[in-house]
């Protein structure tokens, strides 16, 4: 598989693993609306049902342990706009940071499977969409390193999606 495709596939899989570990259902929305993955929590009580949608960008960095304030991601303007404004289902941008070499994506031992390296999230709901942006093909977004994506944070983001 071509490196970029492999990287993208790996990034989506990492997030899917976190969702599965939390016991949440996940999948690709139909029809294709540019969202890479939805994560849902189903409950017999519909009032507790929740769903979020994720747009996943994967980026390789020389030193995944040292990304400073965060990771800069470039989004198509159309995709950026999808994540802004009022939404019935909250949507987030997720940046998955990987090592430069695909051989280092996964480390398997008898004790554990280690996925390298991390995923971070950001909400763009309140980001302004300016006329200047509309004239550009892409928009640069910083995904902060403080927003580490974990099983727990996925649960918290789902809580925010409840009525």
């Amino acid at each position: 598989m071509e490196h970029n495709n492999q990287q993208g596939s790996f990034g989506e899989s990492v997030v899917a693993v976190l969702a599965a570990a939390g016991g949440y259902s996940h999948g690709k929305p139909v029809p294709d609306n540019g969202i890479d993955l939805y994560v849902a929590r189903h409950d017999p009580d519909p009032e507790v049902d929740a769903r979020i949608e994720l747009q996943i960008k994967t980026t390789r960095v020389p030193d995944p342990m040292n990304i400073g304030d965060g990771v800069s991601v470039r989004l198509d303007f159309k995709r950026f706009r999808q994540l802004t404004g009022l939404r019935q289902v909250p949507a987030y941008l997720v940046a998955v940071v990987t090592p430069p070499q695909t051989a280092h994506y996964v480390a398997v031992t008898a004790e554990c499977i280690r996925l390298n390296h991390c995923a971070y999230w950001v909400s763009l709901a309140d980001s302004p969409v300016t006329a200047e942006m509309a004239g550009q093909k892409t928009v640069s977004v910083l995904v902060p390193s403080k927003n580490l994506l974990t099983v727990e944070t996925i649960g918290q983001l789902l809580d925010l999606g409840i009525g």
Binding site: P29, N33, E53, L86, R87, Q88, V89, G161
Partner: protein, 377 residues
């Protein structure tokens, strides 16, 4: 993209109001608010189905959420999402669905059964359109259907299916701007009035059949004539069920462009198997009852047919009732039995294309109106 898949552009054109109307007429019930959407629920045999209807078209994910709803509704109704979308998007047409399950394998229908159902739908719609066009209640409809009714049948669209036959009845657009002081809405278009009559008549026939099952009394059908029940309608309903494994259902959907009174709030009429022979009986019963006595009446118009029994014994003429006739005879053909002298006068009037006028007692015999003891004017 699958051929049945809907594009986001198509989905974004559906208005919340139109979707809500579809859900309501399909039996869904509004059940609270969730963020920027309304929750709707439907009781099903398994468990309650739930969908969320986005309330704001300005939501960034409006089209996607409409897609979620559409695919969920399609799954509940066991129909393609495209078909559900079309029902929601057609705001200028009432939609009736006839649901007939036969013994054919799922997804198919025997050719002969499909034709029977299609013919039944044609007769059902034509009977309702004829009743509405005539503007009066009759036990039996005339053989020659009014042009307005035939025109509606020519414009109505049928989407045949294996189990669900969908009928689209076009509604005329509201033409022009209403005057500012016009406080009431214009009269609904002919297509809507036909749909409403069909709803009332089908429910009346259903209820009369259910009562008749218990009481063995068919008089409920005679009372139903005031709601548009006719022998023709009963026969059409019976025909629709003739191929069904276990009865059939008619489901009404109302175009959102024209408001519909709250009284039309029972969208699905299910005719169980037990009701079908009653409907056949009712059709015969109404035909038998079709001998109505008319009060003293006047008929004025041209002689359109002449028939002499034997030489010098008078004859029978048919007069097309025109202006000056009793109002309930207008545009109908009235048969008059005449003595020899009067028959000769009628021949003369016929040759000169003059009108003739008679007073007398009119009775309905089958579909014919017959005037007895006529007096010329």
């Amino acid at each position: 993209m699958m051929s049945d898949e809907l594009s986001l552009a198509e989905l974004s054109r559906l208005q919340p109001r139109d979707i809500a109307r579809y859900l309501r007429t399909s039996g869904w019930v509004e059940a609270g608010r969730v963020r920027y959407a309304m929750r709707w629920t439907l009781e099903t045999a398994d468990s309650p189905a739930r969908v969320l209807l986005p309330a704001l078209i300005t939501l960034t994910d409006y089209a996607t959420r409409v897609a979620d709803l559409l695919y969920a509704v399609a799954s509940v109704e066991n129909r393609p999402a495209r078909a559900v979308y079309t029902d929601m998007a057609l705001i200028d047409a009432d939609t009736q669905r006839v649901i007939v399950r036969t013994n054919a394998p799922p997804g198919t229908v025997a050719v002969a059964d499909g034709l029977t159902t299609t013919a039944g739908i044609n007769h059902l719609l034509l009977s309702a359109a004829t009743s509405e066009a005539l503007g009066e209640n009759r036990f039996v409809l005339p053989g020659k259907k009014p042009k307005r009714a035939r025109d509606l049948l020519a414009q109505a669209l049928l989407e045949p299916g294996s189990e669900v036959f969908t009928i689209r009845i076009p509604l005329s657009p509201i033409s022009g701007q209403l005057p500012l002081r016009h406080m009431s809405l214009p009269e609904p278009p002919f297509g809507r009035r036909v749909s409403q009559l069909l709803y009332r008549a089908a429910w009346a026939a259903h209820d009369a059949a259910a009562r008749s099952l218990a009481t063995q009394d068919l008089n409920g059908f005679a009372a139903g004539v005031n709601s548009g029940v006719t022998a023709d309608l009963c026969a059409a309903l019976a025909a629709l069920g003739s191929t069904a494994r276990d009865g059939f259902a008619v489901r009404f959907g109302w175009a959102s462009k024209w408001s519909i009174p709250q009284t039309y709030n029972r969208p699905t009429i299910t005719f169980g198997r037990a009701l079908l022979p009653v409907l056949t009986e009712a059709a015969d019963f109404l035909r038998m009852r079709n001998t109505a006595h008319h009060a003293h009446a006047t008929v004025t118009g041209p002689v359109v047919a002449l028939r002499q029994a034997t030489q010098n014994s008078g004859g029978t003429v048919t007069i097309l009732a025109g202006p000056g006739s009793s109002s309930d005879l207008l545009d109908r053909r009235v048969t008059v039995h005449l003595s020899e002298d009067r028959y000769r006068q009628a021949i003369r009037a016929h040759l000169l294309t003059e009108s003739v006028t008679f007073d007398g007692e009119v009775t309905q015999q089958g579909n014919a109106l017959v005037m007895s003891e006529p007096n010329p004017r």
